[in-house]
Symmetry: C2
Subunit: 230 residues, 2 copies
DNA sequence: GCATGTGAACACATTCACAGCA
DNA sequence: TGCTGTGAATGTGTTCACATGC
């Protein structure tokens, strides 16, 4: 059994979590088998795209029948490495950081808020959802101790770049950045930006277009998963 | 002066907010002129891509010189229709909904939280950041009264689909969905999903890859603006 | 017969490279 | 000379369509 070499295309990776969710729901509904057509419909993607995506994980389908839900769910789970524990550090214990800490989004997979850091003395020492807020200076120690590889930046924009640098230096490999700042990540660090202002601006663009323009042209799919009917 | 017909490609639209931000910073630094190379560097994109993106807005550059910052900023502002008022409704006044209400992300452009709705009697009637939380049943009225076209879904996953339908029916055209659910939007409605669980799963994928695989292959850019060094 | 997995065609976005203009 | 704007080339993801195998 050899490690899969061919890297999975990025757009495909962004869809895997969707399939994972749909499959989980199907499994909980005791659905045993599903065709690429059904699965694609539920996930809101083209059936060929779905089959191509799954083919990157290996061969899990049965011609003439479809996919075994449990089996496929396992495969996606393994591809995303969700079976292992994923401790996370959240930098920034403001409104957003605290809201994220309490979020349900972590329950799926082995995600767990293992650490919260901030620089504000008023926040350091407080406890959010059972996690002690530490000072940013303790970052290295905490990350090493807990073997943290995933980080979330929920700081003000001005601190974002520095925070990303510190996280990377501490050993964090992938970062979800909620701060409205353009961050140029260090070598080999993957940063994904979730930018409320940018999202709203895009939505405004399309809303404005919908208003003054009754023509279609609304794109079916957009980078980052914008959805609109075909 | 005719309305621009050619629709701007979706990937280009996702980058406009980035340019907008960089240009704003430059303007505040009293920079008057900028070349595509400098601007592209700051925004983290290829210079040719930047020029192509800007060419969709019209002709704003001067060969041999570059772009006038203020002038270009205006152009991007106009393209994104940020000069007008954009009242927003947030559905769901839980931790996340309240955190978003207080967020700084709205300050850019004419975004303003005009309404907050929820179904929980314990939340309805409370005031968040100066905005009264109303019951979901009042949605139609509020949206019509305030001429709201933008909505944010911050409800539990189970309610997301229904909430999107209601928002659309009330007159909202573009929706930012924070609920971890796959939403198939109604005709002509644009939905953009911000899915914490999905984002973490993707990040886990790349973090795992970085660990067991010292080879490069980390993608330079990913849909939805994942960033990693070239 | 029926659905997978995939070669091949297609559709785009990105990037190069340069003509043209300040 | 320097930089824009854009044809053309490239690279990549999506989709079609079907050979293959259950």
């Amino acid at each position: 059994m050899s490690r899969r070499r061919a890297s999975i295309p990025a757009p495909s990776v962004t869809r895997l979590p969707i399939y994972h969710r749909v499959l989980r729901q199907m499994a909980s509904r005791r659905v045993t088998t599903v065709s690429s057509l059904e699965l694609a419909e539920e996930a809101g993607v083209n059936a060929a795209t779905l089959r191509r995506d799954l083919s990157h994980l290996g061969t899990y389908g049965t011609p003439g029948t479809g996919y075994e839900v449990e089996h496929l769910l396992d495969a996606v789970d393994r591809a995303l490495t969700l079976s292992r524990e994923w401790p996370i550090v959240i930098a920034g214990a403001g409104d957003l950081g605290r809201a994220l800490s309490r979020s349900r989004g972590f329950t799926t997979g082995g995600f767990r808020v293992a650490a919260l850091v901030d620089v504000d003395p008023a926040r350091v020492g407080t406890v959010v959802n059972g996690v002690l807020v530490r000072h940013l200076d303790e970052l290295d120690e905490v990350v090493r101790l807990e073997a943290i590889r995933l980080g979330i930046v929920a700081t003000p924009a001005a601190s974002a770049a520095d925070t990303v640098t510190r996280l990377a230096r501490a050993g964090v490999r992938s970062i979800l950045n909620f701060a409205p700042a353009i961050v140029t990540p260090p070598e080999r660090i993957v940063v994904r930006n979730v930018d409320l202002a940018a999202e709203l601006q895009m939505l405004a663009f399309y809303a404005a277009r919908a208003e003054l323009d009754e023509s279609p042209a609304a794109p079916t799919s957009l980078p980052g998963r914008l959805r609109s009917p075909g």
